[in-house]
């Protein structure tokens, strides 16, 4: 009855389950029995099947690509529309083959509800569980279970009940309560649209009745504002930020805070084109363009948030993830993490667990192989302004990218708690007050580079120049600190990490005291430097003192390269231990190309800008120095 279709947007459902349990057949049956096929389509396919000498199968309706007919599997998530008396549906037919899990994820992530197809005879199988589990992560909580091929168990009630109980038990373990469990035969059209006559013991809904009873999830308009910034446009004389509201609402006059960072501004207007009446409010799901009462200096990736309820900034996140890449995920892997419109480099600090989808047991693991689900801890050099999934599903999830490939998806389980800071005592003198007295802010220049790159030389030059200008400055030199505070440490990877940690903690204390700290140490590994940045916070500035190995070895001021080569000095960076070149240092000084004077001059200019001049318009230091 096409005339009764409403114009409302189609209700998206995904059909998932183990390969060969009859997903495509069920979808074909749904289309046919609801009268949703184009005129002549079934006849056309019947003719084609006859030509190939095959019996007509309802699954042929979907297998419209040559390759699928050849391989006998559904390759990709296809979208098909059908309608019942109640509403329109769009079905995403997701493939059951393990190899195509990425397509199942693609299809299911867009769905409001899922039909989980289980073969009555084969029962709950591996992909039934894996798909069920992924539905949970993907946020698809409404599930109708179709126990298919009921004819193959002779419409036996006891055998159906056993399968139904097994499905129910499994789904309960992952927090899903199915809306219905329907015994049906897609092939014979029983309990799909028409009620079958051969299972009179079943009094529940048909599949279509069960689907019609589901409701769309409400948009997250009640949550705090989350508007990931897509872009900044210039419109005549004003800057306009654009993006889609993922949670909450926004009105002209609202105070908005941009995170990471602390800029706030009030919404001056919601900009539109071709609207007669200017909009004054916007809600979840809307793509908007906002102008503000003052200039905001932000870029794509920032999150415009409710001023009094912004996502916390964190450098460490614990995530639950599904891994799609052929190459397993292992600790130390460096990936791009994307959430909202932001993109950050992260390091896998630990794989905390891999989840066995059969038993739902989280077991310790060293790696997460393809198609596995598990839990991992990730660290980022730059702060992430991300929510936990429980607080805000749409901004508490993201993807991981490796070498141009989407490698996995995650939801944020845990952000670092603040409980560890609860015992700290507030000092009566603030860093701002010290900065006012000193005429500059405290902070840390972290000079990293190979031995012989010129770190110590530059550090001492800078110390002289800053002191001459009346700045409070101090050098923490790796070698010097090792003679005192760190004399108990050697050069093993663990000891090197501890060396860096202690120096970072000392640097932080000095910076708090108002000193410009110049830390000069090889600090070869990116995670160590990330840890230092985390400890020190906003005052941390990474300076890469860069020179290639040949240059450094040629200089060899301490004779160490000669010894390393001659005596096989263990764990010597550049020779027998790795150096991670900083990917995005705040400053890079190539001492191979620059003369020492030029490099020292550049470093001084950077330090003056970082600690004495305003770091950014409207920022902290400008206010302090203005008076």
């Amino acid at each position: 009855m096409p005339g009764t279709i409403t114009d409302k947007r189609a209700f998206p459902i995904v059909v998932v389950g183990h390969v060969d349990h009859g997903k495509s057949t069920l979808v074909g049956r749904l289309l046919h029995d609801t009268g949703s096929l184009p005129d002549g389509k079934a006849e056309q396919l019947r003719a084609q099947s006859a030509k190939r000498g095959l019996d007509f199968e309802f699954s042929f309706l979907l297998d419209s690509l040559q390759v699928e007919r050849d391989q006998g599997i559904t390759v990709d998530a296809a979208q098909i529309w059908f309608h019942t008396a109640r509403r329109r549906y769009v079905i995403i037919d997701a493939p059951g083959h393990l190899e195509f899990l990425r397509n199942m994820v693609t299809g299911a992530s867009a769905a409001e509800a899922a039909v989980l197809v289980v073969d009555a005879k084969a029962g709950v199988s591996e992909q039934t569980r894996r798909h069920g589990y992924l539905l949970g992560i993907l946020g698809v909580r409404q599930v109708v279970v179709a126990v298919n091929k009921i004819d193959l168990i002779e419409h036996d009630e006891a055998r159906f009940t056993a399968v139904a109980q097994a499905v129910l038990d499994y789904l309960a373990g992952i927090g899903i309560i199915p809306a219905a469990i329907v015994p049906l035969s897609a092939r014979h059209g029983e309990n799909v649209v028409e009620r079958g006559t051969r299972s009179p013991w079943y009094a529940g809904p048909t599949l279509v009745e069960a689907l019609d009873a589901l409701t769309p999830r409400p948009p997250a308009s009640h949550g705090p504002l989350r508007l990931p910034v897509q872009d900044v446009y210039r419109l005549q004389d004003r800057r306009v930020i654009v993006g889609r509201i993922e949670s909450g609402r926004v009105a002209v006059g609202d105070a908005v805070r941009f995170v990471p960072g602390s800029q706030t501004a009030r919404v001056a207007a919601i900009e539109t084109w071709n609207d007669l009446v200017p909009a004054t409010t916007a809600v979840t799901g809307q793509s908007v363009a906002l102008s503000f009462d003052r200039d905001v200096f932000i870029e794509r990736g920032a999150v415009a948030s409710a001023a009094d309820n912004a996502p916390p900034e964190s450098h460490v996140v614990t995530v639950q993830l599904f891994w799609l890449d052929r190459q397993p995920l292992v600790p130390g892997d460096r990936l791009s993490l994307r959430y909202g419109t932001a993109e950050h480099r992260v390091t896998v600090e630990a794989i905390e667990a891999v989840i066995d989808v059969e038993s739902l047991i989280a077991a310790p693991a060293l790696a997460l192989p393809q198609n596995a689900v598990g839990r991992a801890r990730l660290t980022s050099v730059r702060p992430l302004a991300i929510d936990s999934f429980a607080d805000s599903p749409r901004t508490g999830r993201g993807v991981l990218v490796r070498e141009h490939r989407i490698a996995g998806g995650f939801v944020v389980e845990e952000l670092p708690g603040q409980s560890r800071n609860l015992t700290s005592v507030d000092a009566p003198v603030t860093p701002a007050e010290r900065a006012l007295r000193n005429g500059h802010a405290g902070g840390v220049l972290w000079l990293t580079g190979l031995s012989g790159a010129g770190k110590s030389t530059l550090a001492m030059r800078l110390l002289r120049a800053l002191t001459d200008r009346g700045r409070l400055a101090y050098v923490l030199d790796g070698d010097n600190v090792r003679q005192g505070l760190n004399r108990d440490l050697g050069f093993s990877p663990e000891d090197r990490a501890e060396n860096v940690r202690r120096i970072a903690e000392v640097a932080k204390l000095l910076a708090d005291a108002g000193v410009i700290v110049i830390a000069a140490l090889i600090s070869p590994l990116a995670p160590q430097r990330a840890a230092a940045r985390r400890i020190i916070g906003a005052g941390f500035h990474e300076v890469h003192v860069a020179a290639d190995l040949a240059t450094c070895e040629g200089r060899d001021p301490k004779g160490l390269y000669r010894r390393a080569r001659a005596d096989g000095l263990a764990d010597f960076t550049g020779v027998s231990a790795a150096y991670d070149t900083p990917e995005a240092p705040d400053l890079r000084l190539d001492t191979g190309a620059l003369g020492i004077e030029e490099a020292a001059h550049a470093l001084l200019a950077f330090a003056e800008t970082a600690f004495v001049a305003a770091p950014e318009p409207g920022g902290h230091a400008a206010v302090l120095l203005g008076g």
């Binding site: 690509l65 529309w81 872009d231 419109l235 654009v242 084109w273 998806g409």
Partner: protein, 264 residues
């Protein structure tokens, strides 16, 4: 927000993602109803001005009404129009059936435009409900050096965290209308009052439901003379939108072959 508002917001989001992350970018303007909707959405997304060129792959075989529409709205909408002639039919794979071969000139025209202007992103108005092979598309669909569509190995795409980070040499097709249906498009045209080519409305009992080249595009029987009547007609039909497009029906896999070769 009603369902058209949701579709509009989603398409605007996609267009802004493309503009932010794919340069140089262009939009394919077939002059059909769907691509007019795309231009309208782009004007909304970018607050009045379409900030990239629109490309008409010109075979020289469009209906006169279509050319008239192009001249008028390129001016009125202040579009930066690129309308280079597609390479001749002699350049096209002779094993394709005749109508498909004619249509494949557009694939060649597209390749020519990519080579000539170096486009990294191309926005096209295809929809999932039009045709089964288009149902398998991604919103952002990467194409390698040879322009081909590898539907067996498409990147995952979920949660609107669109993936646009591809190796050099890849260009990306962007499909902002992928989730719209034919009925959605017409309802949006009605709501927004978007101009469309008069060939969509019945004259002497015939109208075009889908527009393509002269000789391989045929009108359907229809009495629908305005937008409201077209919508009423679509609500009551069960026949395929592209039934008047000859290249879809030359063989069961003809259109699939066109698309694998890089057709829109």
């Amino acid at each position: 927000m009603d369902d058209l508002d949701s579709l509009e917001a989603e398409s605007i989001y996609i267009l802004r993602e493309a503009f932010s992350r794919l340069r140089p970018l262009a939009m394919l303007w077939s002059l059909g109803k769907d691509s007019n909707v795309m231009i309208w959405l782009a004007k909304k997304a970018f607050l009045g001005r379409v900030p990239f060129p629109v490309v008409h792959l010109d075979t020289g075989l469009e209906f006169p009404e279509v050319y008239a529409f192009r001249e008028r709205y390129a001016r009125e909408w202040e579009l930066e129009l690129i309308a280079d002639a597609c390479p001749p039919i002699e350049d096209v794979d002779p094993t394709l059936p005749p109508a498909s071969r004619l249509a494949a000139r557009k694939t060649h025209g597209l390749r020519q435009a990519i080579d000539r202007y170096g486009f990294h992103g191309l926005i096209a108005g295809i929809r999932r409900d039009e045709q089964a092979t288009r149902a398998k598309e991604r919103v952002f669909s990467p194409r390698g050096e040879d322009n081909a569509w590898d539907f067996r190995d498409q990147p995952p795409e979920f949660w609107d965290l669109f993936h646009l980070d591809f190796p050099p040499g890849t260009h990306v097709r962007v499909h902002p209308l992928l989730h719209w249906t034919e009925l959605d498009v017409w309802r949006y045209i009605a709501r927004e009052n978007i101009p469309v080519c008069p060939l969509y409305f019945a004259r002497e009992g015939k109208r075009f439901r889908s527009l393509g080249e002269i000789g391989i595009t045929f009108p359907i029987d229809s009495e629908a003379t305005d937008i409201a009547e077209v919508i009423a007609e679509l609500r009551g039909t069960n026949s395929a939108e592209r039934s008047g497009r000859a290249m879809d029906h030359e063989g069961e896999d003809a259109f699939e072959r066109l698309r694998v070769g890089g057709y829109m």
